[in-house]
């Protein structure tokens, strides 16, 4: 069999020597962009889980001692109404200490000891996330306790969600641009290296090599070159991601959802590089066959 390594001078000072570099850079940037998309996705999902799936019902406290039982009755009525809607997963009445923690930033840590009559908060988890659901619940609760307030949290997180969605879109744009740039680059590099090897291809041709034979050799070499680059891009991209992850670990806490990228994401990552290498290979194969067809 023919020794593939010696047949074509791919590599060296040829245009093909670029392919690993270009692919590496593109795969690196692509990895970052895709992980950016995933991160923002995961943030948005986290928020959406913790928000669209839940809501809070507030029942204002009565001012006097005597109405304490009235409040308890109101809570019971609301819980019953909620459970009756069939779309509620769980209902939790917040304890006094939980409420204190929630309000501490606004009213001070020692609010619990004061006599301020606090409202009662009921955390509700829904089985259905459609916006109408919230309206349905609102109506149901208004019927039993007219002065209860239903808060679906949207109000607070709205702007943040919009901003994050903007960033997600930006990352998606970058990923697309990088993919386009990679494709263009590979097509271009393959064509240029073909032009460079025109004489060599002609010699192969005159000696009686089949088109497929030459094209396959080119495709193999291009694939290997691109694959080498892919590995470089994948490795550097992964290292960068791990570094960022390490940096981000200090941030991930409190009211931010857990943004760590899932196992499935990490498993998808190598495919960016493999796809790039395959793209390079197919491009080379088609381009060589096309060039040879122009010869007799």
């Amino acid at each position: 069999m023919i020794d593939l390594r010696s047949e074509l001078p791919l590599g060296g000072d040829s245009a093909t020597a670029y392919i690993p570099w270009l692919v590496a850079i593109m795969v690196f940037l692509g990895t970052l962009a895709v992980s950016g998309v995933n991160t923002f996705d995961s943030i948005l999902q986290g928020w959406s889980r913790s928000m669209t799936g839940t809501l809070t019902v507030q029942i204002p406290s009565a001012a006097s001692e005597t109405s304490l039982s009235e409040t308890t009755a109101q809570i019971e009525r609301v819980v019953r109404a909620l459970n009756a809607t069939q779309i509620v997963d769980s209902v939790t009445v917040l304890s006094k200490s939980e409420l204190n923690n929630l309000l501490a930033p606004w009213l001070g840590d020692d609010i619990g000891d004061s006599d301020i009559p606090l409202p009662t908060l009921i955390d509700v988890t829904l089985t259905d996330e459609a916006p109408q659901t919230v309206e349905k619940l609102r109506t149901a609760i208004a019927e039993v306790v007219p002065n209860a307030v239903v808060d679906d949290h949207r109000r607070w997180f709205g702007h943040l969600i919009e901003l994050t969605e903007g960033f997600r879109l930006l990352a998606l744009c970058v990923a697309c641009v990088v993919a386009i740039a990679l494709a263009l680059t590979v097509v271009y590099a393959t064509r240029a290296s073909l032009a460079e090897f025109k004489d060599i291809i002609a010699v192969f041709h005159f000696i009686g090599a089949q088109d497929m034979y030459v094209a396959t050799q080119f495709a193999k070499r291009t694939f290997l070159a691109a694959f080498k680059g892919s590995i470089g891009g994948f490795a550097s991209g992964t290292v960068t991601l791990l570094l960022i992850r390490w940096l981000a670990q200090n941030v991930e806490s409190g009211f931010l959802p857990d943004v760590s990228l899932g196992l499935s994401f990490w498993l998808t990552l190598p495919f960016i590089g493999i796809l790039a290498a395959l793209l390079a290979m197919v491009t080379a194969y088609i381009t060589v066959l096309g060039t040879l067809r122009t010869m007799m």
């Binding site: 010696s6 001078p9 060296g12």
Partner: protein
């Protein structure tokens, strides 16, 4: 396919047949006009003519680098002008071409350059080694087998090109100025190689300016002038 004696080509079919062949490059003038030629399988010919007469162009029709503008080229009885592209590689493997500008592959060693046609034909590596080594000794390059063409002298390159052309025992050898860069002694040696291959059944066409060479051998001569071909005994 082996390197042992090839099956003799069909005696009925001439190695080369030109039927009213004409050639022009794009919209330029006709370089070759209405050429007619029949060369039997075991013939040997000089192809002469002034610089720019179209010798290389004529050979390029025979080594299937291009199609004629008019007429038909037939090799071993096959009309290559009309033939399916897929059938051409098989015909090309019956050809041995020595290009005027050598066309060696600079990234391969002398040995690998010469071995290329055998490798493309799928010959076993041990057989390749034996044949290539023997041939390179014949042309006096046994010490330069691992050298790259870039550092060879002009005459050395030419000999590598000749070795590559004949290593596959082709049935039609097209040599373009094969002795332009070598001294008379080596020139004679190369001519002997051609004569030997011709005896074994190959048809050989040698394009040359070297009147000295032409006069020394009494092969028939194909003379190109003003786009017309004249055959002289």
């Amino acid at each position: 396919m082996t390197l042992s004696r090839k099956e003799k080509p069909d005696e009925e079919a001439p190695a080369v047949q030109l039927d009213s062949v004409a050639l022009r490059y794009e919209q330029g003038p006709f370089i070759l006009k209405d050429l007619n030629l029949v060369l039997p399988a075991d013939s040997i010919r000089f192809l002469t003519g002034p610089s720019g007469a179209g010798k290389t162009s004529l050979l390029s029709l025979l080594y299937l680098a291009q199609r004629p503008s008019l007429g038909a080229v037939k090799l071993f009885g096959t009309d290559v002008t009309a033939a399916n592209r897929g059938r051409l590689p098989a015909i090309r493997r019956k050809l041995g071409v020595i290009f005027q500008d050598f066309r060696l592959l600079d990234h391969l060693s002398t040995f690998d350059n010469v071995a290329l046609p055998l490798r493309i034909a799928g010959i076993a590596e041990t057989e390749i080694k034996e044949n290539v080594t023997e041939l390179l000794s014949w042309v006096g390059l046994e010490d330069l087998m691992e050298t790259r063409p870039a550092v060879l002298s002009g005459g050395q390159k030419q000999r590598v090109a000749i070795a590559r052309a004949v290593v596959n025992r082709p049935q039609l050898i097209l040599a373009d100025e094969p002795t332009g860069n070598v001294d008379d002694e080596i020139g004679m040696r190369l001519m002997q190689l051609f004569i030997e291959l011709n005896r074994l059944g190959a048809c050989i066409i040698i394009a040359t300016h070297n009147e000295h060479l032409v006069s020394r051998f009494d092969f028939p001569r194909l003379s190109l002038a003003d786009g017309c071909l004249e055959e002289q005994a």
